[in-house]
Symmetry: D4
Subunit: 156 residues, 8 copies
């Protein structure tokens, strides 16, 4: 449906990077796929340029790190401004992730770290000031990221 869809090599590269984005070198991947390193590097660059790879993130256990007020803030944005507001929410100090959901209510999920109650208040007020309507706030207990095994499958 889109031109430039991923082929099996692209999907394999994404899969191996999902395992450990920091310590999996292009060489490692090249070896596993029987390709040259430069081919893998070129592919990765292309995926980055197209925006399919958006970045590489460290995954931190904030509770263990001493930040117990790690919080999910569920917001409603007007449908026509959801995209813009989700982007602006990223700039609020303390925000660590924003997810935009395709619906009319409860459609922007913000993860944020407050060091104190006052800090969480400030974050809520800034989100509210952008035009987001805060519906709920909940402590995040734990989070896990997993690779997408579907990248390795034959889709035919």
């Amino acid at each position: 449906m889109r031109d430039g869809e991923l082929d099996a090599t692209d999907r394999s590269i994404l899969y191996y990077l999902q395992q450990d984005a920091r310590r999996t070198s292009s060489n490692d991947i090249a070896e596993k796929l029987g390709l040259s390193s430069s081919t893998v590097r070129t592919r990765i660059n292309k995926l980055e340029d197209e925006g399919i790879i958006r970045g590489y993130h460290i995954d931190i256990d904030y509770d263990l790190a001493g930040y117990p007020l790690y919080t999910k803030i569920i917001c409603t944005a007007p449908v026509t401004e959801r995209d813009r507001l989700a982007n602006e929410a990223r700039e609020v100090h303390g925000v660590t992730a924003v997810r935009e959901i395709m619906t009319g209510k409860r459609n922007v999920y913000v993860n944020a770290i407050g060091r104190t109650h006052d800090d969480l208040n400030r974050i809520a007020e800034e989100l509210d000031g952008l035009g987001l309507d805060i519906v709920d706030e909940q402590i995040i207990r734990d989070e896990y990221v997993c690779p997408y095994h579907g990248f390795l499958e034959d889709e035919d």
Copy 2:
């Protein structure tokens, strides 16, 4: 409140790794902080061993990559099994992230990719089979991860 809390150096290391976990070498960080590379490497290893760093992830735009059925599945787990079920949900084929929220209802958020409706059905059925009660399913439009600027601040 916990011994082994992060000091300013730990927090700075985490901050720089949040920017680009793949291409920020220990050397790069060492340079910025005026430390030796081996000190930074030791610190990172310790943070990994303690579980404060849980991993390094590639961030993929699934919609652009040709997977429009990238979905947030909101579940309720019984309070006493929330932790176990959130862990088991990671093993379901197609699941890419699990978040555990500290409340009694709508307390496990699962991100999953379905290639087709049948695939999403299968994922829902497997989550249900684990003992999770599925409350809602929504298409994820976009997501952004942001570094936590608080790591660079003086907390005193």
Copy 3:
């Protein structure tokens, strides 16, 4: 309670057309009811003129046809504009059905097909632009239409 209520013949005609609106000819129905074809045709014309028959629709399995983002969009219209807005929603590109429910909230159900996330976004924005408040969006898994057997029953 209304004059011009349906009699048993009208109801039978509707029933047979519910089975297969395309391949059930007036002749077929006439034969089953022991009437002349022209009587059946006249009755059908009258039912169409009165608006009781609104049209004849093909029933498509959009998922099978390659459109996985076939979606139910649940909206709230102000009570006094519900009727007008439900009508206007039909004109939005991608909308395939609109249902108006007799209540104050969640009272306009729109079925729509998006080819991509951006396409679904556009539909949501156009509905929002009309004055509909979007409350929820959900993927439609399947739909079935069934004839109303009550048409064949003796109501006395």
Copy 4:
């Protein structure tokens, strides 16, 4: 992603049948598309065989026809039985449509006609007897079906 996806001719045929499924003959479509009638017939047969065309329905204004208790019954099915229960709901006397939504709650929508309160009660009890949990019941005020204009567009 699926082999056997629709080409532009298939989509055009579907589009014209959406306009008036009863009075648009294969000849009419053949003429518009500059194809032979037999080609159009073959295509239609293939779409029916594949299940992409599920049938042809008459669209009745039940309120005008003297059935004011035309009702939308919103149910919850257990995720693993949603598909089976949605199918079984079709057999309940008075049911005119069933829609299956891809979520955990409020995931089966049943349209039904009751001639009296007792009749609506019976329908609700039969749905309940199947294993559907009835959440809401609302009078349907009006419904409109519209062709999907996307069938006529160039998707490249």
Copy 5:
């Protein structure tokens, strides 16, 4: 649709009785309608026998009468037992009205008077003991009953 539907005389009688069921005698109504008293009495008896007139009630302002804990208790009954449970709820000491709503949740509304908190507790426990699931309890501030003017209108 039912035989034995009300005619204009029946409807007028109901209308006048709605004004003041205690002090409007059959004579009063007969006079207004230009009928004999015995005709009116016969009609009223027939309406009572058919169950269309269920009784004649005094309307009491419980708050003014010194019962501030006059409460609306909203319950959910299983669909197949809603009718039976609504009837049984009438027998609970302190209950003054029961309304049965045609839906799956929040479908039995009970008005009840508690003299004390313990008394309201007892009523709730008895309703729960019958099998009703209590969802909400709210103080009733005021209630007004009004005649149905539609009884006097020409329906053609």
Copy 6:
């Protein structure tokens, strides 16, 4: 807490009138209580004057009477206007009862009879025009009024 609270005689009179407000004469009550008729009449007049008795109503089974669209319309009024709006709702043609609940949302319950869908629409629009926000509409299946047995009990 209020002066002029009901004594045991008042409560007994109310109780007997709850049984059958039309056919229980003052004489009947007087006999049961061992009082003179005129005493009972005086008491009743006083209860009416004080507003404790608000009227005497006929209880009609609207479904049996041929009005299947007998509906409960749940509204939200702004707290400061709830009382005024509940009163004004009584004047809307088709409304048969209004209950005012002591809370901030879903605080005005209106019972109304619509003869057709258009009629119910008109009622909803008029309520909306007054300033009531309509939240839900549900068909009333049945209602029962019961005497308050507490009137006969010794409260000491």
Copy 7:
């Protein structure tokens, strides 16, 4: 309605104790009311014996005291066990207050202090183990207790 209702002196005593339960001596109150100290002491003893005074509490700002995870846990208890469960919840380590609300859902509010996420988890699990169904958990930002001025008013 109850014998042993409070008189004006009782109410005044309660009012002064609401101001500062620790530093308002019986002498202080006696002086303000023109009574003897022993009269005040007797009255207070009686109010304590009757259970009208349940105790004297210190009001702590837990956030300031270094406990940011001071949380309101909203539970549902079965109606017939609400009272018993609310009492048992008091015994859970970390619980600082329990409120029992007279309704069927969300009817037990528990305030609790968790020192860490694991601690809050343990509290939730113990409440769940008692038979309470946890519906929501929210951080308490602040709380204020105020005297009831109504104690000083003339109620006649």
Copy 8:
């Protein structure tokens, strides 16, 4: 994380004051902790000055005291005004406690005593006049305050 955090002595003092804030003298506490009375008094003064001890409250059973309309009023304040409005709500006559919850909806809980329905109405209207949106009102059946045992534990 804060300087001036509580040490074990502070925590013990708070614990003993939680038992009975009125009848536990500084001497009693000093004895239990093996400290001088003046040390305890100094500590208490410091805790009061810092705002960690906000006051000492009498705990009244309002239902037993003859006030059955003791009510929890749940409100929503705009996020940026939640703090100010929670403070202003304390001034409303009849309010006995205000709790501010760290979320966007249902974020201010007000306990209030109404002597009559009109009194509760007045309170609701004053809260509404401040800018609080009242969402729910419920009768409080009972409440219990408990000491926080965590104060006596070794946190290491």
